[in-house]
Amino acid sequence: MKTAVIVFPASNCDRDMVVALEKITGKKPHIIWHQDEDIPEVDLIALPGGFSFGDYLRCGAMAARSPVTKRVIEHADRGGNVIGVCNGFQVLTETGLLPGALMRNESLKFICKDVKLRVDNNDTPFTNAYAQGQVINIPMAHHDGNYFADDDTLQALEDEGRIAFRYVDDSGDATKSANPNGSRNNIAGIISRRKNILGMMPHPERLIEEAQGGTDGLGFFESMINALN
């Protein structure tokens, strides 16, 4: 599986994503600077976390208008696979590749903690290594992860099974108290209609070794190996 990681000014989880992809695929991803006009032929493009352009104006807004992002959109339009984690998810919504928007957390605070996610659709290239309904532990670290979409969009996401991950409590229920940031319907990650694009706020790349406190993030990357190799 050939991969590329896009680096915007003040991306800061790019290295973590590169490490995770290299560990799983055995191949070093291409690292693409935001001003590069071309992305080599790859199976997967990853938009990493961070504070692209300082998160000034709106999170992800300026990265979504970077030269390289046009190439990401073309890749996605051709059916190519794209993941966006944290700031990467924000960029994907800003480009319109994924619906909705990520707003300031309801508490108005940056929140860094481990959260429980339920895999709500394991029939995607990014979730197939998990069981349907499996509850996994993944760290989150963001200030603007409060997922918003209007009622119609939300209904469509639900009806089409496009909610990949939801914030849940220990027993797997999407309760209000399990919702860390105010996201509508406890949404933590969604996929595109063609299932080739995934955006999520929590960071699976931070939990791939026992030393990091667990390996629940591995399944995310293993899914892609299953689907794309």
Partner: protein, 736 residues
């Protein structure tokens, strides 16, 4: 404003610049003439307490700074230690107290920015941030606002630059009501053959300014940090700098990219006193002069005068000496990162800092005497008296041990800091292997089995009750915390926060703490490699508790051997290491339960400290221990409760308290103690080896069930403990 560099230098003007008569006379002597206004400004900031350490350096010189593993000690931007494999750890802690009181968000944010620059300017990639925070009483009307702003500022800056903030300590005490302390620490990683220093060299070499443009931010910030607060200080708000973490992140990447080439001769960040101190340090350090054309300095505002440019504390700027002819190559790197890049001058052989503005020379100062002949004071001090010993008979036994323990762990002093830590990205860079909440934070050296353990500590109530013992204890506690995760303590950075040094009793506290620190560093073989002094932390004549915050760093050569404070399995046996005497003087028990701040602090026997710590570390290294926790604030029972909270497993503790009253045994803060959790089949081994090493140990209980049972105390369920521990801070912060 009309600008006149040759304004008459009156006594009033000299006073306004904080120079004493003697200092001004020295300035005249160095120059051989009356200074220009720009020169007066330069002398003023260079000789401020903040930049010159004039009250403290006599005493700082007495601290041990050398060890075979120390590559660079104090005097550089940060301390550098050898961690093997051609790698070095570079670290420092620094205060940003006054700015954080005036504008907590920006003050704390720029504090983080400044300490990051001190570390990456030496060629290190920052890998961890820590902090030590002190606020006033929770009842004080400003505390909530300050706590909220400081934490948000630290997070806002550190999270954006992508360096994990892995822990720290937070205390509350009324002595900080008018002077909070915000001490920020950065730890970085570099290759030993890629360490950069600030001494300029090479006559004719170009001097480059990179980073953000210069504005009128923070003019006289350095002198503000050197004066006592009065009630009108709040009017000084416009001088507070604003941080731009986005630019800092770009600056880190651009500087590290530049440093990976062979173009850089010397590099220095522009911190307090900005362009002035950076250029004087670089020139005097290399014994050369600088010729600057100030018209070339990138400026954010119109009509800036040389005085303003030299004194501005605009953030995210660096000064670099390049090898000749490499300007275009270097500029390409800064263009890529969209940062300002300007050749502002060159190195000369005059030894002078010569500044030209619109064709006129506006300052021409010999840098060596400016830096080397800076004032040094032997301020009068009185030997601090220790508070009288408190007799245990004078402390009542609590009516209900269970409620007492719950009250203690639910107090502002001991409650969970999750509300704070969750606002920090603790895991970015994916190498954080021990998050905040344990004894020390542990961050892996990327791509290796090694890890660094970091702890910031100080117990100001001990320092106040007895500065010498307090100074010892601050050093010893970081050493113990680093030991408790299994790491070998290597060196410390210090951030010495005190009141007005012109008062002999305050100066006595300073001298006493230094004496204690010196002794601890010597015996524990744990030198000081960097640091910072913050004086004049006083409002209307009331000083803070003496607070020598220590940031310790240790090395784990095999990070898989690390332990945490959480026992791993039912049936593990709890072993208490060290002697328990039930010392309640200056304890948290006394403060929280009896509302008394009395008594001498627990004495620190550094030889026992070393013996016990070395023993514990060896047992962790041998894999005989599954969890370890040091005993500090709150004593034995609080430490046990913290282990229960971390593991969510119960304990049955049965301990013979002998002749010591049970509450003194439970909550006394005797030093050099640890609790180990040990698999049952290793218990005999542990007790025997301890015996052979002449280390006191005691089998005190077992991991079992879902309750904490402490002798005859009513059992406390794990959930009750968790509830009591987590509530205080979120509740406090949610009330308007």
């Amino acid at each position: 404003m009309t600008w006149n560099n040759n304004v008459e230098i009156t006594d009033v003007l000299v006073k306004e610049h904080g120079l004493s008569d003697d200092e001004y006379a020295l300035c005249l002597e160095i120059l051989g003439r009356t200074p220009t206004l720009t020169e007066l400004g330069i002398f003023s900031v260079m000789w401020s307490e903040h930049c010159s350490y004039k009250s403290s350096k006599l005493h700082l010189k007495t601290l041990p700074t050398k060890a075979p593993w120390v590559i660079h000690g104090p005097g550089e931007n940060a301390g550098v230690i050898d961690i093997g494999d051609n790698q070095a750890i570079i670290f420092k802690m620094e205060s940003h107290n006054h700015p954080s009181y005036i504008e907590p968000y920006q003050g704390a944010a720029t504090g983080v920015g400044g300490i990051l620059r001190d570390v990456f300017t030496m060629g290190a990639r920052p890998i961890a941030n820590m902090n030590a925070l002190r606020f006033g009483s929770p009842d004080h009307h400003k505390t909530k606002h300050l706590l909220s702003g400081v934490v948000e500022g630290i997070g806002g800056y550190g999270n954006c630059v992508g360096v994990p903030t892995v822990g720290g300590e937070t205390n509350f005490h009324p002595s900080y009501d008018g002077n909070i302390l915000v001490n920020a620490m950065t730890v970085g990683l570099a290759d030993q053959d890629k360490i950069f220093l600030s001494a300029a060299a090479g006559i004719g070499n170009p001097v480059i300014y990179v980073g953000s443009k210069t504005g009128r931010d923070g003019i006289h910030g350095a002198t503000m940090a050197s004066a006592e607060f009065t009630e009108d200080t709040e009017e000084k708000r416009p001088t507070v700098q604003v941080g731009d973490p986005f630019t800092e992140k770009l600056l880190i990447e651009a500087c590290l990219e530049l440093m990976s080439t062979d173009m850089v001769v010397a590099i220095q960040d522009m911190g307090a006193a900005g362009l002035t101190s950076s250029s004087v340090e670089m020139a005097s350090g290399g014994g050369v002069g600088f010729d600057f054309n100030l018209d070339m300095v990138p400026q954010r505002e119109e009509g800036m005068t040389p005085y303003e440019m030299m004194l501005s504390e605009s953030q995210e700027r660096m000064l670099i000496v390049l090898k000749p002819g490499r300007e275009d190559e270097a500029k390409a790197i800064f263009d890529k990162w969209d940062l300002d890049f300007a050749v502002i001058g060159k190195i000369t052989d005059t030894g002078n800092l010569t500044l030209t503005f619109k064709g006129d020379i506006v300052a021409d100062i010999p840098t060596q005497p400016l830096a080397d002949n800076s004032p040094e004071y032997d301020r009068p001090w009185v030997k601090p008296q220790s508070k009288a010993e408190l007799k245990n008979e004078d402390v009542q036994a609590p009516a209900d041990m269970k409620q007492t323990l719950l009250k203690m762990i639910g107090s502002e002093h001991l409650c969970s800091r999750d509300w704070i830590w969750q606002q920090y990205d603790m895991q970015v860079m994916a190498d954080t292997i021990q998050k905040p909440g344990g004894d020390a934070a542990v961050v892996r050296i990327h791509g290796t089995d090694k890890a660094v353990a970091i702890s910031t500590d100080c117990t100001p109530r001990y320092c106040y009750a007895n500065p010498i013992e307090g100074g010892k204890q601050a050093v010893a506690e970081t050493w113990r915390n680093i030991t408790a995760v299994g790491a070998t303590p290597m060196a410390i950075t210090d951030c010495l926060n005190f009141g007005n040094p012109e008062r002999p009793e305050i100066m006595g506290q300073f001298v006493g703490c230094i004496e204690g620190m010196r002794e601890a560093c010597n015996i524990l073989d744990y030198p000081v490699v960097s640091g910072n002094v913050s004086l004049y932390n006083e409002t209307n004549g009331t000083g803070i508790h003496p607070t020598p915050a220590i940031g310790g760093v240790g090395l784990l050569s095999d990070s898989s051997k690390m332990v945490t404070i959480a026992p791993q399995a039912e049936g593990e046996v709890l072993i208490l290491v060290g002697d328990t005497r039930g010392h309640l003087g200056a304890s948290l028990y006394l403060e929280i339960i009896e509302g008394r701040e009395e008594g001498a602090p627990p004495p620190v026997d550094l030889n026992i400290e070393k013996k016990n710590g070395d023993y514990v570390r060896a047992q962790i290294d041998a894999g005989n221990i599954t969890a370890c926790h040091d005993i500090s604030d709150g004593g034995l029972y609080v430490s046990l409760a913290e282990m229960v909270i971390a593991s969510k497993m119960g304990m049955k503790v049965t301990v013979d308290t002998g002749t010591i009253p049970s509450h003194a045994f439970a909550f006394g803060e005797d030093q050099a103690r640890y609790i180990l959790s040990v698999p049952a089949d290793k218990v005999d081994l542990i007790l025997n080896t301890a015996n052979n090493a002449d280390v006191t140990t005691q089998n005190i209980g077992i991991i079992s069930g879902d309750e904490l049972t402490l002798n005859s105390t009513t059992p406390i369920s794990v959930s009750e403990l968790l509830e009591a521990h987590k509530g205080w801070m979120p509740d406090y912060m949610s009330i308007d």
